[in-house]
């Protein structure tokens, strides 16, 4: 721990020893980069391997355009929850109530729209407000009264499940307005001339690629301007190529079916928005700080109570969004909706690199963790593994992912 750090880190990229060594040099660079960012890339690689495994095992069915589209729709609500859960876990807490809250807001949506014929945009806003209020109530007990989040949200889990059944009187309530169903289940509208692909999806995909390149290049230029160290040019190019091709493949797959699902767009906005918030906004930094070392954060002037409160308020609102998407997708609010969703979201966060003690994790990590679980579910269904073994395997994956993380951390010695 107390040794001089400079001595331990590998020397910066060995300068190219002519053309023949270039390939080896790039390989070396990649390995170095990997070793330093094991946390970030480890799960991405694992996700790639799982995708490859099931793609082969299911004779390519996994990557059929229709299935990819399905995968997004099936997992959207878990992914929405995982984003909020990641924030909660980074701040050093846990939220067990989100599954029940998902069901509760779904039930409220049904009561408002099906029983009372409220226009759907109004009802949606009301439901989000109800979710935020539920989250805020829990956040109040946790942040200002100091009751452990495990207890408060365990109570919330029972309470909201019970309220769901009370409001639905044990029945399933539906159907939802057509427009709302379209948001949860539908695809982007088609525009322009007839091609073999979905034009708007292609357009959005290309726009995204252009944005990614612009962003990365601008970042690099600014780093140069500030005379800061930058990624070696070769590695930068490799990263750019990998990013662009990933976006391109998904775009083409989606565009060759019915186009991008609307929920994917919502999800995309959430990922970018919350990713930006956690990385660049002051409040994001404060969330990491209170999770990483609460006493130090307090002594640095971080308003820890307010931050905790907001994190739970946000979780409630996202749970409401997930509840709406879920109810609209199945066109009914059911008392049994959202069962075990909290556990899936928590598992996704931990697979995606969160730490039980808080202070660590990224929004992208939560998405990767959620996708690992989603692809496992979908892939195992495709190859005909029963739900009994699915659970066994998912449990093992969670344990292995976190175990790997713990082992890796000890190895690095931090």
């Amino acid at each position: 721990m107390s040794t001089d750090v400079t001595a331990k880190t590998p020397a910066p990229a060995p300068p190219g020893k002519g053309g023949s060594a270039a390939a080896g040099g790039l390989w070396q660079l990649m390995l170095d980069g990997l070793r330093r960012n094991m946390r970030q890339y480890g799960m991405l690689i694992a996700l790639g391997l799982i995708v490859a495994l099931f793609a082969v095992w299911s004779d390519g069915d996994l990557l059929l355009p229709r299935n990819v589209s399905n995968l997004v729709l099936q997992n959207s609500y878990i992914l929405i929850l995982a984003i909020g859960m990641m924030l909660v876990i980074i701040s050093g807490h846990i939220d067990l109530s989100v599954g029940s809250l998902t069901a509760f807001t779904g039930a409220m949506a049904a009561v408002l729209m099906v029983e009372n014929d409220l226009p759907w945009p109004v009802a949606v806003l009301l439901c989000l407000a109800i979710g935020a209020a539920a989250g805020a109530a829990q956040g109040f007990f946790i942040a200002y009264l100091g009751i452990p989040s495990f207890i408060v949200t365990l109570a919330g889990m029972l309470l909201f499940r019970g309220l769901t059944e009370i409001f639905l009187e044990g029945q399933t309530l539906g159907p939802f307005p057509k427009d709302l169903q379209k948001v949860a289940n539908g695809f982007l509208p088609e525009v322009g001339p007839e091609t073999n692909y979905h034009n708007l999806t292609l357009l959005l995909g290309f726009a995204l690629i252009a944005f990614v390149i612009y962003q990365e290049v601008r970042d690099r230029k600014r780093q140069h301007e500030f005379a800061l160290e930058v990624l070696p040019a070769k590695l930068f190019l490799l990263k750019l190529v990998a990013l662009v091709s990933a976006v391109l493949v998904v775009t083409l797959l989606l565009a060759s079916y019915k186009g991008a699902p609307i929920v994917l767009l919502i999800l995309g906005v959430l990922v970018v928005g919350f990713g930006y918030l956690m990385r660049n906004a002051i409040i994001g930094r404060h969330i990491y700080a209170i999770g990483g070392n609460l006493p130090a954060a307090k002594l640095s002037g971080v308003k820890d109570k307010k931050v905790t409160f907001l994190v739970f308020l946000n979780m409630g609102m996202l749970a409401a969004l997930a509840g709406l998407v879920f109810a609209a997708r199945f066109n009914a609010a059911s008392p049994k909706a959202g069962l075990n969703f909290e556990l899936e979201a928590i598992a996704a966060s931990f697979i995606g690199g969160a730490s039980m003690s808080g202070g660590v994790g990224t929004v992208l990590g939560a998405i990767i963790g959620g996708l690992v679980l989603g692809v496992l579910n979908n892939g195992m269904n495709l190859v005909g593994i029963g739900t009994d073994w699915q659970q066994v395997i998912k449990g093992a994956v969670l344990l292995a992912a976190v175990g790997f993380d713990v082992w890796n951390k000890r190895r690095v010695g931090s």
Binding site: R222, H286, Y288, A289, G413, S414
Partner: protein, 522 residues
């Protein structure tokens, strides 16, 4: 059975990078109360850990002879089997178990794994009578005060057939009355033939109970004095504790002479704070200090003097219960009830415990530095990462933080470099008054010099610096003025010219009792 009960010969104990004990010899006679005293960090506690097997045989050099036999303790259990029991400063009791359960924890009266409650209670009652604790043995430990808990610890020791009882600063957390009782008990036990070693730096306490005193300084045993001998005065003990050369080097400082007439940058008036749990106890008692621009003012004190408590309670009431006093900045009274308020009034507190209160160890250097003043590198709530990185790179260079990039997790840095990150963080916050609490604790000589230089520069820029330290040479080398504290009270104020290690130590070892005695003799 003549001869000493315990002999420790030429004990040497090294930790990675630090020699905690370089040559300690200790001889304790049978049936005496033997005091060990020395400055913070002199090696007292380490020595006792060697003796009690916390640091097992093989991890140190030298010999331990107990009752004439060479001992090689593998762990605490082994030393306890020989009748050596240590009571640590932080009591090791389980708060929600009863007194009786605590006394016999790990050593239960049991038959075939089942506890014999009748025997347990009978024996506990007997032990409580011996230590003079009038509580039912089934009372929860959490429900009795610290003083009584201390007695439970001693009862626990007695249950282990103790021959040599070691008490590490037993009265540090006690009020006067409880302290008195405890000292009486030590004398009673002595009559029953139990030898005690008591670590303490309260000189009047040592004079009251001890027969002899061994002084330890910088990991070496300096001398053993007979307390009852007339030539062993308090001054004699003090000169043993501090008699070290000023060999540390400090940047050349032109002493600061504040202009008269201007208000001090920071003034604290009649500050009183109660202990957060034991609310009867005053941890800081009516303290008034002032610091002017460009001035470095030291606060000297031993463990439990209340220096950190004073600083933290002023800085956003982050310690204890406020019980009175005001804070003035440039002559105007200000509110510092919360950390943001204190920071807003230009006050920074650099903690003595950087790992727990100073840094987010799992986060990177740049993010640690920017945390207190994120607004400075942000626009409308959004942090400019490049600007932030540039700021951090600036501090990495100017403070000479040894790390390949500012994206290194702080937990991987050495202590000295971590300290530089904490300092950078608070300098970045742009304070006018800096309270530095043990800024050089646990770091090597080279890094110390670098930190002294930074402190000197801060003062030269016109900042007011409060420098809390346990190392007297450091205070003498750096400060324009030095306050001394003991047991929560201000006991002295010295100009740079008046201050000497002996003079400071005399005021630092003064407690309420001694003051009262003084008043009476006057």
């Amino acid at each position: 059975m003549a001869g000493p009960v315990l002999e420790m010969r030429s004990i040497v104990k090294t930790f990675p990078g630090v020699k905690a004990l370089s040559d300690v010899t200790l001889t304790v006679r049978r049936g005496e109360v033997h005091a060990i005293c020395g400055e913070n960090g002199a090696g007292k506690s380490t020595l006792m850990k060697v003796l009690s097997g916390v640091h097992p045989h093989g991890s140190y050099e030298g010999d331990i002879l107990f009752e004439g036999e060479t001992c090689r303790f593998r762990d605490i259990r082994a030393s306890e089997q020989h009748g050596i029991v240590i009571i640590h400063q932080e009591l090791a009791l389980v708060p929600y178990l009863s007194i009786a359960e605590n006394i016999f924890l790990g050593n239960e009266h049991a038959k075939r794994g089942l506890i014999d409650w009748n025997e347990t209670l009978r024996h506990a009652t007997e032990l409580l009578r011996r230590v003079g604790l009038d509580e039912h043995p089934e009372t929860r430990v959490a429900d009795i005060g610290v003083g009584k808990q201390q007695l439970v610890e001693i009862a626990k020791a007695l249950s282990k057939k103790v021959k040599l009882l070691i008490l590490d600063e037993p009265t540090a957390a006690l009020n006067d009355e409880d302290s008195g009782k405890l000292l009486d008990l030590i004398l009673q036990l002595k009559e029953q033939g139990i030898t005690s070693i008591i670590i303490s730096h309260k000189l009047n306490e040592i004079r009251r109970v001890a027969d002899s005193v061994t002084i330890i300084r910088d990991g070496q045993s300096i001398e053993t004095l007979d307390v009852k001998a007339p030539e062993t005065t308090e001054d004699r003990i003090i000169s043993g504790m501090v008699g070290r050369d000023l060999e540390n080097r400090f940047p050349d400082r032109t002493p600061h002479h504040p202009e008269e007439g201007t208000a001090p940058a920071l003034e604290i008036r009649n500050w009183t704070v109660h202990h957060p749990i034991d609310q009867q106890r005053k941890v800081v008692d009516d303290v008034s200090i002032e610091v002017r621009r460009g001035e470095i003012v030291g606060i000297a004190g031993l463990m439990g003097a209340g220096r950190t408590e004073l600083a933290m309670s002023v800085f956003g009431r982050t310690y204890g219960r406020y019980a009175g006093g005001t804070v003035l900045r440039d002559g105007a009274e200000v509110r510092t009830k919360t950390v943001p308020e204190a920071v807003g009034h230009g006050i920074a507190y650099v903690t003595e415990d950087r790992k727990h209160y100073g840094l987010n160890l799992i986060d990177t250097i740049n993010r640690n530095i920017s945390l207190t003043a994120l607004g400075k590198v942000a626009k409308r709530g959004v942090v400019d990462e490049h600007g932030e990185r540039q700021v951090a790179e600036g501090y990495r260079r100017s403070m000479n933080i040894k790390a390949p990039t500012v994206f290194e997790p702080v937990g991987k840095l050495s202590g000295g470099n971590q300290q530089k990150v904490v300092l950078s963080k608070w300098i970045f916050a742009g304070p006018e008054v800096l309270i530095l609490d043990e800024p050089t604790r646990g770091i090597d000589v080279g890094a110390k010099y670098e930190i002294y230089t930074v402190i000197d520069q801060l003062a030269a820029q016109g900042k007011a610096v409060v420098f809390i330290s346990s190392e007297l040479p450091e205070l003498l080398g750096m400060c324009d003025r030095i306050y001394t504290m003991a047991a929560g009270r201000l006991t002295g104020e010295f100009s740079r010219a008046e201050a000497s290690q002996e003079a400071l130590m005399r005021q630092m070892t003064k407690d309420k009792q001694a003051e009262k005695d003084e008043e009476v003799t006057r």
